[in-house]
């Protein structure tokens, strides 16, 4: 067991104790800190259901050894809400456009779309498709997800 360490998740310092050194950030978020919003569809870096932001960089948390993330700012889907009913414009757009079916890919997509719209306020269709091409979804065929990204981008641009 490594010494206890602290992870800064969504602005809160969280003590991680009794954790095996081999545990991924995904495992620690889900099983030790109770933040199960970050999903485990493949746990080998192929689907982006576990996407988080580490110091602002979009990352598959399943590929990061947890202890190496100490001292960095980690943002998960649970940390993205604001605005109406605690929803971000991206979350709101996903709900309104019918972009959610089973919802297992949704948290990773929400994080990825936040990341995209931070970097590019007015992405083209090709930009959106390329940015989200690592996020696998099996239910939707992506049509409503792409519509939600458009809606979110417009809403974000019209914000004061």
């Amino acid at each position: 067991m490594p010494d206890p360490y602290s992870l800064r998740v969504n602005g809160v310092d969280c003590e991680v104790a009794d954790s095996d050194i081999a545990e991924s950030l995904l495992f620690v978020l889900r099983e030790r800190l109770g933040l199960t919003g970050t999903k485990n569809a493949c746990t080998e870096g192929e689907c982006s259901s576990c996407a988080v932001l580490i110091d602002g960089v979009l990352t598959c948390s399943c590929l990061v050894l947890s202890a190496t993330a100490a001292g960095q700012d980690i943002t998960t889907v649970e940390g993205l809400g604001d605005g109406r009913d605690g929803l971000s414009v991206v979350q709101e757009a996903f709900v309104d456009e019918g972009a959610v079916q089973c919802g297992f890919c949704t948290p990773g997509l929400i994080v990825a779309v936040h990341d995209l719209l931070e970097a590019n306020a007015d992405p083209s269709d090709g930009d959106v498709r390329e940015a989200l091409s690592g996020n696998l979804c099996r239910c939707t065929g992506y049509g409503r997800i792409l519509a939600a990204v458009n809606t979110a981008a417009e809403a974000k641009r019209s914000q004061p």
Partner: protein, 772 residues
Amino acid sequence: MTSEAVNTAAGGSTATGTGTDTIVDAGTRGVGADVGRPDGVPKVQGRFAFSSDLWADDFLWGHTLRSPHASALIRGIDIGPAVAMAGVYAVLLADDVPGCLTYGLEHGDQPALADGQVRYVGEPVALVAADHPDIARRAAEAIVVDYEVSEPVTDAEAAPTAAPIHPDGNVFREIAIRHGDLDVAGEVVVEGVYEVGMQDQAFMGPESGMALPDEDGSVELFVSTQWLHVDREQIAACLGIDEEKVRLTLAGVGGAFGAREDLSLQVHLCLLALHTGKPVKMVYSRDESFLGHVHRHPAKMWYRHHADRNGHLVKVEARIVLDGGAYASTSSAVIANASCFAAGPYKVPAAHITGLAARTNNPPCGAMRGFGAVQTCFGHESQMDKLAAALNMDPVELRLLNAIGPGDRLVTGQLITGTFPTAEVIRQCAYAPEPEIPLSDDRRDLPGGSGRTTDAADTVRGTGFAVGFKNLMFSEGYDDYSSAACRVSDGVATITCACAEVGQGFVTLAQQIARTELGVDEVILAPAQTATIGSAGSSSASRQTWMSGGAVQAACREVRAQILADVAAEWGVSPDGLVLRDGLVVSLDGQQEALLAQVTAGTGYEADVEYHHAPTEALDENGQGNAHVSFACAAHRATVDVDPDLGLVRVRDITTAQDVGRILNPTQAVGQIEGGIAQGLGLALMEEIVLDDGIVRNASFTDYVIPTTLDMPDVTIAAFVEEPEPGAPYGAKGIGEPPTISSSAAIAAAVRAATGQALPRIPIRPADIALG
């Protein structure tokens, strides 16, 4: 930005019937309205609890040791090294299964744990429970199994005459359909042999759940599944305890598509929990998931179509062989579907179709979206294109000439009595304006994508068309009823139904139906479970909108009748003159009204109903009989760009029209159609479980590739063809499967049109085009 291509509901809807009599008052959030999912907000916030998110005090992690061999005897198992590991609480083998060792949806031929023999790669051999998932995995790896490996049977055509690999033999089912005058011959005859690869459902949420033991020997299981009550039946039999002692609750389901109809880890979790006395959780890894559930049957199909020189079909002959893999699963129903629908949605006066589902040492195959109809749709639509070419006819005109409809008979002799608007679906799709898609210089739009493998100048374009159909609900005499309870108290409705919400949106529909029937706005959905409500049947066969929707509607109507009877008695009027609307009981003459909250204060009203569809019958020895309840069809037109030298394909547009009965929620309908088409695109171009002597070679999302945002084109829904189905609640048909049935065939036809190649197999691999 563009995303205008989806042309939905209002613009494209075709209503050719009425059926509005059943709608009481849809209001803004009732049936037909574009209502959002009740679980939408928790899902976007990451607060929705999936079956892999469960937690309990002091719980253990389970892990499964699986066979690395497709065929082997087990001479001995040494669990000593695993038991000796710190943190290990249990190691279980077949001898530890206290009840019936085998289970199965149709035939109980699959061992919960291998008993002396393994029959496919991935077959569960031993179970471990430990206090950390890595310890459980390492302990499973430490178990020493002494295998005597034998040559596997991997060829479905050869299996029936090979030595039996199971006491029940190597044939799951043979079926023959003989219809009409089999001696007739056509003036024009075309033949073809077609193959379909093994597709995986590849849902995102891995198999997972948690079992909690009780001191009285009972067990509680939270699990993702498609059918709680049939799981309970099989689990209780394996555990050797009464069904009442097994209580299932649906945990959040991350997609299903057929893969959760069979048991996976349900018995294993309960065994470990009862053995250790502790809660046990299991979550399959992705590679384990590829081994841990059934797949779509690979198919080989021989076809001969006869037509007169004007293009009228005279006779269809077909032989279909499905590889069922090592255990029965739903193979006998899948081959029945494949055979019954093998001629397509056409008027066929004579047909001779034989179907075989064989047992091999390949991974077990069972339910996947489209269930047998997908495979034969690729066959019959390839044949229709071939026939059109032989007749020098337009392929769409040929299909219209032969399109089946009400008053016609299927090759099973069944008279079509419900709606079946094949011709309208074909016309709406085929004659929709062709999308203007300029050949793009954006590499992301080219075959091969941004890898810069293709130049626009090297690509050729093609367009293809296909139409397909299948049955709704279970067939051949099976009574797949659904149960629902409704309670109205203090003006709030609570619906209880064991229907598995797998992402399809039944929870939204249940609320819409209750609002429409009861005139309330607030509808609470109780958890789906087995303790207090009867079976809802499976979330498969495009059946829950009809069956559980029907059960919810019937329960609500019974409660409504009770309320109106009491109020009518109090007011001294006839209940026929009263309605429930906007949270009020209102007399139609406008003279009296009362708050529903007041009328139902305190104990309230409740009803618990079972809803059955019209009975069906078994097929006779000639495959004739009224075996199916209802049918739905869809058509697809695909536009593709192909680099013929590299064998790369980029789908640029899919246009579709679908027979839906009636649309109950437009956005959810669009989502089902787009999602179903994506799975059809995957089967056409990229998705296949690759086997090598029964060994799965691509059990990961790196090697089993599913469509991404860069693979899916915009989908144009040219029309929801709305002809309300008699007998269906609100006239609505299930819509989940048709998008997956003919989309693959349309894409294959488009690639053929672009390349001029025969391409008799899907998925179409780059080498099939480049080296074909």
